[in-house]
Symmetry: C2
Subunit: 262 residues, 2 copies
Amino acid sequence: MARTIQEVLDLIIAAVPGAPQAGSVDVLKSGDPAWEVTGIVTTFTASMDVLRQAVELGANLVITHEPTYYDHYDSDWLAGDPVVQAKRAFIEEHKLAIFRFHDYWHMHEPDGIITGMVRVLGWEAYKQEDEWMVVVIPGMTVGKLAASLKEKLALPIARVMGEPEQPCERIGLIVGAMPGDFQIKAFERWHLDAIICGETAEWQTCEYVRDANALGFNKALLIAGHAKSEEEGMHYLVEWLQPKVPELSITYIAVGDPVSLL
Amino acid sequence: MARTIQEVLDLIIAAVPGAPQAGSVDVLKSGDPAWEVTGIVTTFTASMDVLRQAVELGANLVITHEPTYYDHYDSDWLAGDPVVQAKRAFIEEHKLAIFRFHDYWHMHEPDGIITGMVRVLGWEAYKQEDEWMVVVIPGMTVGKLAASLKEKLALPIARVMGEPEQPCERIGLIVGAMPGDFQIKAFERWHLDAIICGETAEWQTCEYVRDANALGFNKALLIAGHAKSEEEGMHYLVEWLQPKVPELSITYIAVGDPVSLL
């Protein structure tokens, strides 16, 4: 059964309560909705490496969580940039359709990104019914939490605030790159001992946590990196989407943390 | 010769072309301008630890680059937060005057923060006359640059994008936490091979650099951390300020990177 790009996107959007929304960034970034889908790739970000692998796989629909051209709306702010021009030419030459699945995947019930992260961390039993960004893990400490993240997310090192023996049973999963003020307020809002974030705002969140601990409050921060904090949600998308399009091949491509340690 | 807080601030502001500016964050955050100065502390951020050291030193004027209450304007967005309340109580109890020296220190000619960083890195000879955020270092590579940052800024590890042998002679010093779009455009604007930043926006700058390198462009990013990228500028402030107030004791207090590695 042949399906068009639009038909696949319609199936996805129909499964998200409240979608579609006007002004959402979750639109087709390239390609023609009338094309027949030859295969699907899911990924955290449609990097050049991911696009090349999609071409090798013969997949013409790339479903990405993050933008293609480095800003939230993929506007033409960098239109004259040689990197953007070369990437756009590759996408056009290889007739790749790119769909951003960001807002709607977070709006899904439960949040698809958080679900993927909780699954890879093996924390389903610790989820809270009314607080979907919170897990409560009895006996957890900063050191054990850091070890867990390193093992399950394959981090070479854990970037941490808080002493290794510091208890942190109530943990907020503030994935992605939420603003510093949101991260700071999350501590009080959800009575958190620790936040696992993707990116942070060092001059805001980190300084708040530094002062909090200096004043005897029990606060910790674990910085997983943006890609590592969210990409398992795009991995989980394969399992979620496959039953809706059983005849199509869906491949998850990991991108990993872009930053190396020297 | 006794001096008031206001007299010291007037001396500082008078030495900055264009200062004072309406709407600047560089104002007195606590204390009374009429107090007599008992000693001065300079620092990247007026953390609890810095404030306690200031009290021990008997210094009642803290000159900080970053905010005291975790947002740019130190507004009352966190007024009910127990960390903020405890910090404010300490500041009031110990009669500490806190002056933020951010905009004006960057407006100083040359930029006081960049000057401090260039000095600690030993790069005075590589400065560019018309491009004050750029240094050009013949024969430099990403690996050598990372080693230099680790040594001179005492970083336990260098967070890097780019291969160690990748050449990077034209280097932008984009300290602090500049927005991702500014960092990305800086590559083209100044024809940079590499950017040394404080904080970055991984989903923007890092993905741009990842794609740029995948497409054969020569771009590198070295992430020093916000505090490490700017605090030597507050160290240099001691030398700059001392001749203006020769009778006062001025002490620089390093805060270091708030994040530990596990």
